[in-house]
Structures are given as structure tokens and as C-alpha cells.
């Protein structure tokens, strides 16, 4: 892909509570490059620096050392306009309840667009659109109280509030944790559509390898505060040695296929979807059938 770079992070380091006994190195020489319109997944264990890294994207954290360029703008420059930056980069946190503060769903989603000074009609259109993307029924839910929502519903409201700002770059921290299967599939389809059709750049942190395999063009693997690996899902999930070395999980379908290869079956392990994986196994069984016919003929 020869797109324009939209996020360029080079040799970024960050230490929490520097100079105290509680000092903790969160990032140490991390690099990340994202092109406009790409969909990039960041995976890695708790404490590998994923969350610290993404907080640099919209200036919540400033680079302590190293370079952070967002859409060409250097964030180490103190004069960066944070308001325009945050309009450009929408960040949805992991805990949706942290991000919701209005009493009514519609008000919460409309908060950002109102702050941008958009006319009422436009705000209403945006709220309606954002709710449809996340799968919240506009008529039925707009006047519902936010506190009586379930965790999954709150997550949808938080995401809709960010989408309503129409960011250029969407950053999601565990977008589907706590969502039921259908909500998860619908949300993933919608994010994929926004990414492919509207050229929205998407960066998401996830531990769900199904969604990484389904959504991401490229995957960054973080460990101990730095990027240790990056590549397409196919490159990452078929490299058994690296999967083990960095303790990376795989989609359920791939897990089944790996177990079969361990038993000596010849199946390809890059079948990320249920259908592809089932076809791999059908091939094996069909082959056995053919072979046995062959044996009988002899």
C-alpha cells in the first residue's frame, strides 16, 4: 500500500512516575507507522504498553522522548492545537462508563458535535448516523437514560459519541469486549465498512484474535514496551515459532487447525474464518476417502 503516512511514531519512550520508587517504564523505543486508510491492530499482553502508546495519538500524552507525527504534525511541539487534533483523532477507551457523562443517550452522543458549534439539524443527522453504525435503535434508544444501560450498550453509546465527531482516525481500545455475538459481528462489519468505503483510518487494540484476523490489514505485536513484530494477520498467525515466543493467541478456527497439524494432519493454518477452516478439514476427509477408494481398487 502506497498511502500517505498518517501516524508515524519513532523510538517513543515513556516512564510513569519517573524519579520515584514507583517508577515504571511503559514504553521503550516503540515504533508504529500507519498509512491513511489502513486498519491496524495492536496486540500484546497487559502491561506491554498498548494503552500508553494509543494515548499518544491524540495528545493525551506528549512524547517524553522519540517522535510522534500525526497527519504530519509533530506532537512534541507545545503549540499543537489540541482541539483540532482531537477532532481528527477519535479515541474510544476500554471502559465505556468512563466516557459517558450525560443523563440521556441522545445528549451524550450529541455532546461533541454541539461543542463543534454545528447546527442542530446537522447534529441530529450525525447522532442518527452514529447510532445506526453502532447498532442502537434511534427512535427506541435516543431518550433512554444512560445509567440504566448494560455494559455492552454503554460501549455502543461511547463509540457513537466519538463517531459523531467524524474523526479521520478512529482509535479503539478493545472495541468488542463485553458485546454479544450479533452486536460484535455488526459492529465489526460497520467498522470495516467505514474503513473501506469512507477511508477512515482505524487503529484498534484487541485481545480477540477473530476480530484481528477479520479486520486488520496489519498487526503490531507489543511486548515490554516496544513493537516486536508487525505484519499481515496471515504472516503473524502462520508463524508458529513467533506465536509461541511472544505468547500470541490465534483465532479459534486456527487453534483447531494447529491442533490437527500437531496430530499429523496436513491442513493449512491460515484459514481464519469458520468456512475456510471447515473447508480445510473437508479437504482432509475427502482426501482420505479418495485414498481409501484407491486402496480398495488395488
Amino acid at each position: 500500500m502506497a498511502g500517505r503516512p498518517i501516524i508515524e511514531i519513532e523510538n517513543l519512550s515513556h516512564t510513569y512516575m519517573k524519579g520515584t520508587p514507583m517508577e515504571h517504564v511503559a514504553l521503550k523505543g516503540a515504533n508504529l507507522f500507519v498509512e491513511e486508510g489502513e486498519c491496524v491492530a495492536i496486540i500484546g499482553h497487559t502491561g506491554s504498553g498498548k494503552s500508553t502508546l494509543i494515548q499518544h495519538f491524540n495528545g493525551l500524552m506528549r512524547p517524553e522522548s522519540g517522535k510522534v507525527l500525526i497527519d504530519g504534525e509533530d506532537l512534541s511541539n507545545k503549540k499543537v492545537n489540541l482541539k483540532t487534533l482531537r477532532q481528527k483523532v477519535g479515541l474510544v477507551f476500554q471502559n465505556p462508563e468512563d466516557q459517558i457523562f450525560e443523563k440521556i443517550i441522545g445528549d451524550d452522543i450529541a455532546y461533541g458535535p454541539f461543542k463543534l458549534g454545528l447546527p442542530l439539524k446537522e447534529v441530529r443527522e450525525r447522532v442518527k448516523w452514529a447510532m445506526s453504525v453502532v447498532g442502537l435503535d434511534f427512535e427506541g434508544m435516543i431518550d433512554r437514560q444512560t445509567f440504566a444501560l448494560s455494559g455492552g450498550q454503554k460501549r455502543k453509546v461511547a463509540l457513537a459519541g466519538i463517531l459523531a465527531l467524524k474523526p479521520k482516525i478512529l482509535v479503539l481500545d478493545e472495541p468488542t469486549a463485553g458485546l454479544d455475538p450479533r452486536s460484535r459481528n455488526e459492529l465489526l462489519d460497520n467498522i470495516k465498512r467505514l474503513n473501506k468505503e469512507e477511508k477512515l483510518t482505524v487503529i484498534f487494540v484487541s485481545h480477540n484474535m477473530e476480530e484481528v484476523a477479520l479486520l486488520a490489514d496489519r498487526v503490531y505485536v507489543m511486548a515490554d514496551g516496544t513493537d516486536v513484530l508487525n505484519g499481515t494477520p496471515k504472516e503473524i498467525f502462520t508463524d508458529k515459532e513467533k506465536l509461541q515466543r511472544y505468547h500470541i493467541g490465534t483465532p479459534e478456527s486456527v487453534q483447531v487447525l494447529y491442533r490437527l497439524t500437531d496430530l499429523g494432519y496436513e491442513v493449512k493454518t491460515d484459514a481464519f474464518s469458520i468456512t475456510e477452516a471447515a473447508n480445510e478439514i473437508i479437504k482432509v476427509l475427502a482426501c482420505k476417502k479418495e485414498c481409501s477408494k484407491h486402496v480398495q481398487r488395488i
Binding site: T46, P181, R182, H207, L260, I281, L285, K289, S292
Partner: protein, 283 residues
Amino acid sequence: MEPLIRLENVSFSYKINEQTKVPVLRDIDFSIYPGEYVAIIGHNGSGKSTLSKHLNGILTPDNGDVWIHGYNTKNVNQKRAIRQTVGTVFQHPDNQIVATIVEEDVAFGLENINIPREEMRQRVDEALDVVKMSPFRHRPPHHLSGGQKQRVAIAGVLAMRPECIVFDEATSMLDSFGRKEVLQVMRKMNDKGMTIITVTHHMSEAAEADRIIVIEGGQIVMDGPAREIFKHKHELEQLQLEVPAVSQMAELIHNRFAEFSKDIIQESEFIEEVVKLSKEEVS
């Protein structure tokens, strides 16, 4: 057998203001018996988390009653006995860890109920051993992985020696390894006779349970053995749910080779079926 937990016509609504109420649970009626392993599934907003909060008196019903070993959860005086019978592990590992050292965190509940020091030590050792976290006992919890933190939280509940543990989406923040660790602990505790109730969005996790309760619009719409429930693929899809990934794969293979069982719900069964069939074909 006497049920461990019994819900009788339980209804509950969240009160928004004096006039409006959002009904969440309607006339829920079921019993959970000692030693059962039950999964509760349902889509976002179906009421399953509210239901799980009724199982040890965090919430009490507007109408109807919840009985834990014959104690009514509405009876404030028995709250302590109830909480000691049914423990809960929540979704966010960080929200349930209170101490700065793993073993102190596990001992926290015991300190509150004045367990003598010797016994406390023994219970903490035992609990850390079950969740395989003994090597981490002197570590600060905030540097642990999500799965490890969740296991520390489980140890804290185990140390209280409850008869039943409710896992309220306890694996949804974990990666596949962390989830496996927690699932193994759940299986192990159930094998030892503990009652396990798990609220989950992961169908492969629900497939580990013996019994599944499906909830929709605050009511129970299905209740039965896991294998039976997952035969109703179409109904589950209408409830915004699905069957486990291996069941979906098994069905596709079954459509091609009728002898491949489509009633598979667990990964190990799936592997066995592939092995069995490929061997049969050769012989």
C-alpha cells in the same frame, strides 16, 4: 435435593425517576442445585448481569424472592451468611484488587471476618495453589497479566470458601490464554464439587457448562443441558446469540459428510471426531 439458590417469581426494574421504571427482570423462576455448572447467556441488555447480581444479594428483587440455602436475600441480617455462600468474580480485574501484594489481596476478605492468623495462612496458600498463582504471592498485582489478576481475584473469593462462585463476564477482558487459565480453574473447582455459575458472551465458554440458561427481555426463554441448547441454532441467532465456532464448523462438515456429527460443542470433541472419521475412512 435442596436447591442452593432458588429464585421465585423475581422481578426487578431500575427506577429512573418517580414516574418511569425500566423493567429488567420479569417473573424469573429457577433453582440451582449444589455442584451444578451453569452458564447464563443473553444479548446486551437482556438482563443477565442484573440477574447475576441477584444471586448473592447485591440487588434484591422488587417482587418475588431469592433464597440462598433458605436465607432470603432481602433479609439484611443474613447478608454476611449469603455472601459467604455465594462469591462473585467481576469483569474488570483491576476493580477487584485492593492490596499491593498478591497474598495480602487474597487474605483481605478473611481479615474482615476475623479468621485466626494460622487458618488465614492456610486458606490463602490453598487458594493460591488452586489458581496456580503461588509463585506470584509476594508480587505487586498491578504488574500481572489480565488472566493472572483474574486468578488472584478468584483466589480471594476461594479463600472465603463459598459453596458457589458467580463469574460475571469474568473472562471478557482476557485474551485466549487468560480465558483458558480461568476456564481451567472453573472446571477444576466444579470437579471438586463447587457450584459454578458463569455469565458470558463466549459460546465456547458456555459449552463448558452442564446447563445453559438463556435470557431475553428479562425472562428465561431456554433452560437445559448445553448440548440441547446449542441444537437450537436458529432460535439462538434470533436472540442475537450463536453456537460455538466448532459447532458452526461441524455443521459445515456435516453438510458434506453426513457421518460427521453436527452435535459437537467443544473443541476436544471436534478434534476427536476428525480423527475418528479420518481413521474410519482409511480402514
